[in-house]
């Protein structure tokens, strides 16, 4: 089986999510080559085949043009699977490529069993296996679902890809969202503070743990109401509804308004002195401990 892995290139760099694509290919025992609209400098120094289109010429985001470039690479490489990350680039390009190739497409694949991709349904509450009816298939992979691979040492074998397609949209540039605008709904890790943290000074240790875990810190309503934490960080029906990969509830008993706002989280850790607090019912792990004792230790161990 052959996989054409579609790398992403933004603001002059290739995104590291591509290593998960290699991990996927290795996991199913497939041969893999990389496609990238980027620059030679961005290609990893590894023993891999690369179809490279020049981002200077074709643009970092120019979907109609990229669609033709990928189709050209497919023409040459003849892969069975064309694999993207399920990201703003991947889910944008995949349907266009699938249409161009007359291929089936499965989105946000989390597993691949006996030649059939598995994808989540209803916010991950369910999963489905999908039988494919076309010769080629386009996949987008859920971020984090497949472990990143280490590429074999060596130097890349680069083939240039070209296309003759006029852009149909004008890409005007990138824009950084306003920094103050914390958007918990898109954070992958959220560490939230409840009344159990005791006093406003302890918000700092919650923020510290969030930073260590590469996420954002949030809070329950009473903490926000007490003005220990800004409103934009409130989790719950009156604040933000969140669904991170990891939610750490620190000293939160679990009022229904709060639970409604966070129970879609993939993995929930609750830290609470009360073993019977309602938060325990949605927690995958309940750590029975005092927040102010436990959190600093945890942060320290996370380095």
């Amino acid at each position: 089986m052959k996989c054409l892995l579609i790398g992403e290139y933004r603001q002059g760099e290739m995104l590291s999510s591509v290593y998960e694509l290699f991990g996927f290919a290795a996991g199913i025992g497939a041969e893999a080559a990389l496609f990238l609209v980027g620059s030679e400098a961005a290609v990893p120094a590894a023993d891999i085949g690369v179809y490279l289109a020049d981002a200077e010429r074709y643009g970092e985001y120019q979907p109609q043009v990229h669609q033709r470039l990928i189709a050209a690479a497919v023409e040459r490489y003849q892969p069975d699977l064309i694999v993207f990350s399920h990201s703003s680039y991947g889910w944008d390009m995949a349907p266009r490529v699938a249409y161009r190739l007359g291929a089936a497409q499965v989105s946000e694949v989390v597993d691949f069993v006996d030649g059939e991709p598995v994808a989540p349904v209803c916010n991950g509450k369910l999963r489905r296996r999908i039988a494919l009816k076309t010769a080629r298939t386009v996949l987008t992979l859920q971020a984090g679902a497949f472990s990143a691979a280490t590429l074999p040492a060596g130097s890349p074998n680069i083939e240039a890809v070209e296309a003759d397609e006029q852009p149909r949209i004008i890409f005007e540039g990138y824009e950084q969202a306003p920094a103050a605008d914390v958007d918990l709904s898109k954070a992958e890790v959220i560490v939230s503070a409840g009344r159990g943290i005791g006093k406003p000074d302890n918000v700092a240790m919650i923020a510290e743990l969030a930073k260590k875990l590469g996420g954002e810190y949030g809070a329950s309503r009473p903490v926000v109401d007490a003005e220990w934490v800004a409103h934009e960080r409130q989790v719950g029906t009156t604040g933000q509804t969140v669904s991170p990969k990891l939610y750490v509830a620190c000293g939160i008993s679990g009022a229904i308004q709060h639970l409604a706002g966070m129970k879609k989280s993939e993995f929930v850790v609750a830290v609470n002195t009360d073993k019977d607090a309602p938060i325990g019912e949605v927690a995958d792990v309940l750590v029975v401990a005092d927040v102010t004792q436990f959190i600093p230790v945890l942060s320290e161990k996370l380095g």
Binding site: D225, T237, T238
Partner: protein, 664 residues
């Protein structure tokens, strides 16, 4: 010795006096009437509302309220002063009228003289004391308002003019009397029947008769003109409350208490819902402003005002009135402002205390209706999300509707929606169904019923929100959708008794749903449990404890249920330490009026303020009887700064913990 006096003494009783006097008096009364007729035109520009049904009941009620002064006397000292001023002037008016009747009607026409003998003694002494009482009351009023004004009491030139005018009328009355007595009564027994006049006479007597006669005649006319002036300015000053407040007793809302008017949503021609302009309100809503005396009792009791929110019920009522007269086409919502409208918890503290029978809450809800139904606006996104959740899942919490009956797992409840025969249908409500804390209360209630041998049915996933928070927030459309569905469901159950543990559900089912045809009897849990207790069917073993009890607005002020919850606490062995504000003066938890769905971002939090009052009692338990209150207190007790905050508990839990069967 005959006890009487010469009427019109010294001013003459001929054409020269009577013609100008009566002409001017009629002119003044005509101006007074004209003033009110002009105001009436503004009232009539607003929407009609029937407030003259059962006229005899209304009239007796209004006369009772007016003459007894019972509404104004609910705040004791200013109330008694007002009663004294009212009764003083009322008697003076009656007395003066008697003088005219005898002097210009019965005596000249029939030769009938009644101000004589014992009746004259009574007449004279009563009027003297009435005048004195009025002066004392007025003095107290003026001291209170100008020397030591309570916060929020308006002090303006208008009030000073009004007070001084009354004072001048009263004092000149006594000087006139004194001058007359100095000339005609000093040394005679009759003088003793005018004790205040006698005081003045003794002071004035040294002036000598000619000067006294001149003083008397001059002041008589001055006094007369002051009275005319008083008549004329009545419609244009707060004096108008003499008529409008009394009339407002007649026009008052005859209940059911707290029930909102249902909008006709079927009317396809209708283009306006709720009140955007004054004309969208009823004439009574404008008249209320005319009846308002700015006594600020509503403002003093408003939980929103007390916690630094911009809402003053008094101000809203007056803004509506001012807009109606000054700029009727203005957008009322802009005048009143959104923050004001959204701040109300519909706790009814304002309406309960108002001595002028003003209806504050309905006005605010009408304007909320316009915001929600005409603009799609809500206080915040949380509220809008709760509305949408209710549309999808039938509850504002956003829990999946199918799990609504899951709380009762393992309990002996029957599925009433399947038509199983039961003694009562328990309408659980959203919090009792989905909120962890309140599920404990719902389970306790079923346990109590089981112990009393009462079979309980629930509607399970077919039950939806009663719509109360949505209705109070102005979403009449969503409310009526829910109401019609629930009425059909409950009527179809075949059970004739519905019990609620949520006072909001209770008031909605028992009052609001009647407009939509709900037929079963609806009983609130405290009343239902008290009945069981009185019948001896609730095997409760008292176990002593101390608590304070918070009257929920919807059990208390909205439904007058004050003693049953206290009886239950006592049956459980509880001793109640009352908070400063309890009973009909209870202070809202902050969760009413749909505010349970909203954020509270202005001022301090109402629930924390209330919890602080509970902390002040020193009681270890804060007993409640409403899921919203319990939720607000669970939050509030976590925030309050005290070493050992009281534990919020529902009285149903307190009782269930003391069931004899529990351990035996």
């Amino acid at each position: 010795m005959e006890f009487t006096r010469e009427l019109y003494w010294n001013v003459g009783h001929g054409i020269a006096t009577l013609v100008p006097m009566y002409l001017l008096a009629f002119a003044a009364v005509a101006l007074l009437v004209r003033g009110f007729i002009k105001r009436r035109a503004t009232y009539l520009r607003a929407a009609p509302i029937d407030r003259v049904d059962q006229p005899l009941v209304r009239l007796t009620g209004a006369l009772g309220d007016m003459l007894s002064q019972r509404q104004v006397s609910r705040v004791l000292w200013p109330g008694l002063a007002h009663a004294a001023l009212f009764w003083g002037f009322f008697l003076l008016l009656v007395g003066t009228t008697l003088v005219f009747i005898q002097a210009d009607f019965t005596d000249p026409l029939f030769g009938w003289v009644f101000l004589t003998g014992n009746f004259y003694k009574l007449f004279s002494v009563t009027l003297d004391l009435a005048g004195a009482a009025a002066i004392v009351a007025l003095a107290l009023f003026m001291i209170r308002r100008y020397l030591m004004p309570p916060e929020g009491l308006p002090v303006s030139r208008d009030y000073l003019i009004m007070h001084l005018l009354l004072l001048v009328i009263l004092i000149t009355g006594f000087v006139i009397e004194g001058a007359r007595m100095a000339v005609t009564e000093l040394g005679r027994p009759v003088a003793a029947w005018s004790p205040v006049g006698l005081l003045f006479a003794n002071v004035l007597v040294d002036m000598g008769e000619p000067a006294l006669r001149n003083l008397h005649r001059g002041l008589w006319w001055f006094h007369f003109f002051c009275v005319l002036g008083f008549f004329i300015i009545i419609p244009y000053t707060k004096f108008r409350h003499i008529f409008t407040t009394s009339a407002n007793y007649f026009f008052s809302d005859r209940g059911p208490t707290g029930k909102l008017a249902s909008l006709d949503l079927e009317d396809e021609e209708r283009e306006q819902f709720g009140a955007t302009q004054v004309a969208d309100l009823s004439w009574k809503d404008i008249f209320d402003g005319d009846a308002c005396t700015l006594c600020k009792r509503c403002q003093d009791r408003c939980p929103a005002f007390a916690t630094g929110k911009p809402l003053s019920p008094m101000k809203v009522v007056n803004q509506i009135q001012e807009t109606a007269f000054a700029a009727p086409d203005d957008n009322l919502i802009e005048v009143v402002s959104r923050d004001v409208l959204w701040a109300c918890t519909t706790c009814r503290a304002c309406q309960e205390i108002c001595p002028a029978a003003i209806e504050h809450v309905g006005k605010i809800v009408e304007m909320r209706r316009a915001l929600v139904l005409m603009e799609g606006e809500f206080p915040d996104e949380a509220t809008m999300a709760a509305m949408e959740q209710t549309e999808v899942n039938g509850n504002p919490l956003g829990s999946g509707f199918a799990a609504r009956g899951d709380w009762a797992e393992g309990l002996p409840v029957k599925d009433a929606s399947a038509g199983e025969a039961v003694d009562i249908i328990y309408f659980v409500g959203c919090y009792g169904s989905f909120d962890k804390r309140n599920i404990k209360v719902a389970r306790s209630f079923v346990t109590l019923c089981e112990a009393a041998g009462v079979s309980v049915g629930i509607m399970g996933k077919q039950e939806k929100c009663c719509g109360e928070p949505m209705r109070k927030m102005g979403n009449e459309y969503l409310f009526q959708t829910l109401a019609m569905e629930m009425v059909e469901l409950l009527n179809g159950s075949g059970c004739d008794t519905i019990v609620t543990t949520c006072p909001h559900c209770f008031t909605t089912l028992n009052k609001d749903y009647r407009d939509f045809g709900l037929t079963p009897k609806v009983v609130s849990a405290p009343v239902f449990l008290q009945e069981l207790l009185n019948q001896g069917s609730l095997p409760v073993q008292p176990h002593p404890f101390t608590c304070t009890y918070h009257d929920s607005c919807y059990l208390g002020r909205h439904n007058d249920i004050y003693t049953p919850p206290r009886a239950l606490i006592e049956a459980a062995g509880g001793t109640i330490v009352e908070m400063d504000k309890s009973g009909s003066e209870s202070f809202c938890c902050g969760g009413g009026g749909g505010r349970i769905m909203a954020e509270e971002n202005i001022g301090s939090r109402i629930n924390n303020t209330r919890v602080a009052m509970a902390v002040a009692t020193g009681a270890p338990v804060l007993a409640a009887s409403c899921p919203f209150c319990l939720t607000m207190f669970e939050d509030g007790t976590k925030t309050v700064e005290t070493a050992s905050p009281p534990v919020p508990q529902d009285i149903i839990e307190l009782l269930a913990e003391r069931l004899k069967t529990a351990e035996a």
